[in-house]
């Protein structure tokens, strides 16, 4: 049955442009050509759920890399209990689902003629375009920092070589050295990420280099899961972590890679290893295509994630302004499903149903100690807001249920589930 149905659908897909009538797939919705920029959590989810909703759709994903390396779990590579290979996902699953994956960098979008140009000069026409470019790092956001400086003071905020560099530096760090992490102001990718990194690095140092210290210089006064993280630092790594809020001078004024120092209102601090997480903005293609607002991010209609700046264009994931939703893989995953449904409805001339938006961010403090924050969202004329009296963070005081251990197991299961949903 599967083979027959699949080959039938393939025929329907190929012939869709010719207006074949009566095929079962076409009964589900109108055909169309959809181009998606980026095969990360947002883009790949959108592609899969489009194809699932209507196999007749012609779906092309443009992606500059051969594989996707997730930022989630990259902190565990830095701490030494995961390998980068464990976080690397091929696009074979997308191809098997009938999605075309084109290697290339989208450099321009012509919204009038509905076409995306790639770096190699090829053009891809679309009926609907989905832009899921993630974030670009703003190297100029920290005086003294640059792409070259990041070879000495890694950001490790894009998983890959930078992740491995920071791992090597921590391995080479002498016992008793100071690891300095510079955390950015909001908004940025993965709000609990810097603090999860501090936690698992502390776990590594406690076991391997126990005389070492961690200094967090933060542009912010509050951060995600703050109470849980700070309680865990105290109980699991007493005396190791010092966090300096922005109001207490934590905002970094400049960095000097030559002397390995960081200047802030707190003073001039020298570190053995320095991790600078710079400010961020929507990926370059969103800027080139004029999809961004003054704040460097892409405004969207919260019902559909359609760009408010260009017709037939949707923005999903970290690049979008999504109200109360954090910039996370889980957010991008649920947004991708909303966009897929919105595009199918739009091609069929129907009004899309209300969006279902949800987020879950698990963090590990140690491999055996997990915490989470979650929210169910509502969309109204106030935009995307959290559902009152629901969601929030893990219980403050664990019970006999052993919440921390369970949530550590669920963290690993979450990763398996979401990456299977997106790329498998």
């Amino acid at each position: 049955m599967t083979t027959t149905r699949r080959s039938l659908l393939k025929t329907a897909g190929a012939a869709a442009g010719l207006g074949v009538i009566g095929m079962p797939a076409l009964a589900q919705g109108a055909a169309g050509k959809i181009v998606i920029v980026g095969a990360g959590f947002g883009g790949a989810t959108t592609a899969r759920y489009l194809k699932r909703a209507n196999p007749a759709l012609d779906v092309t994903v443009v992606e500059r890399d051969d594989r996707y390396v997730t930022c989630p779990f990259s902190n565990y590579v830095i701490a030494g209990f995961r390998k980068l290979d464990d976080l690397t996902h091929s696009f074979d699953g997308l191809r098997k689902a009938g999605i075309k994956v084109v290697k290339g960098e989208a450099t321009a979008i012509d919204t009038a003629t509905r076409s995306v140009s790639l770096g190699d000069g090829t053009k891809h026409a679309y009926d609907r375009l989905v832009v899921s470019p993630g974030v670009d790092l703003s190297f100029t956001g920290v005086p003294g920092y640059s792409e070259a400086a990041a070879e000495k003071m890694p950001h490790a905020w894009k998983a890959g070589p930078q992740t491995l560099l920071l791992r090597r530096q921590l391995e080479a760090m002498p016992d008793g050295g100071t690891f300095i992490l510079c955390a950015p102001a909001n908004p940025f990718r993965c709000p609990p990420g810097p603090y999860e990194r501090v936690s698992v690095v502390a776990w590594y140092l406690k076991t391997s280099k126990p005389k070492s210290k961690i200094l967090v210089l933060d542009a912010k006064d509050v951060f995600s899961k703050q109470g849980l993280f700070q309680a865990a630092w105290e109980s699991e790594f007493p005396g190791m972590v010092t966090w300096i809020a922005g109001k207490d001078g934590g905002k970094v004024e400049s960095v000097d890679p030559a002397s390995m120092t960081v200047k802030s209102g707190f003073g001039s601090e020298t570190g053995a290893v320095i991790n600078v997480i710079p400010p961020q903005r929507a990926g370059a293609i969103a800027h080139a295509a004029g999809l961004v607002g003054d704040n460097g991010w892409c405004p969207v209609d919260p019902m559909t994630f359609a760009s408010t700046r260009a017709a037939n264009v949707y923005v999903v994931g970290d690049a979008a302004v999504a109200g109360a939703m954090p910039k996370s893989g889980s957010s991008a995953n649920t947004q991708g499903k909303v966009v897929a449904a919105a595009i199918v409805a739009s091609l069929a001339g129907r009004t899309p149903g209300a969006p279902a938006l949800f987020n879950i961010c698990y963090s590990l403090v140690t491999p055996e100690y997990g915490i989470s924050t979650t929210d169910v969202y509502q969309v109204s004329d106030k935009g995307i807001t959290t559902t009152p009296n629901a969601g929030g963070v893990s219980v403050r005081t664990p019970t006999t249920l052993n919440e921390r251990k369970l949530e550590a197991e669920y963290t690993v299961n979450w990763y398996k589930s979401i990456t299977a949903d997106v790329w498998a």
């Binding site: 879950i360 929030g392 249920l401 949530e407 669920y410 589930s417």
Partner: protein, 100 residues
């Protein structure tokens, strides 16, 4: 029958329709698909998080109601269940019960 419908009967009969017209929230399918982020694609989980595929509708409704009312202890589902109305939970369960 039906020439004279007492006003009260009519009001009761109309009530569910009015409620559902007001609450045009996300579909059961749309909400259920957000569960996959932890419970796995099509509700199939590979690990300690429960698979949803194959669970009977009424079981799902009961578990969600118990999480929502904190009658069943949990790590995160209590927080999540509180984000949905009873009608939404029923709609989610209706869809999940169709997963094989």
């Amino acid at each position: 029958m039906g020439i004279r419908v007492p006003a009260m009967v009519l009001a009761v009969w109309l009530l569910p329709l009015q409620v559902s017209a007001q609450a045009t929230g996300p579909s059961g399918q749309a909400m259920a698909q957000t569960c996959y982020v932890c419970h796995g694609p099509a509700g199939k989980s590979d690990g300690p998080i429960a698979s949803l595929a194959g669970l009977p509708r009424d079981h799902i409704v009961r578990q969600m109601a118990d999480f929502k009312a904190d009658r069943r202890p949990g790590t995160i589902m209590n927080r999540i269940a509180k984000g949905y109305s009873d009608e939404q939970i029923a709609a989610i369960a209706d869809f999940i019960a169709t997963l094989k």
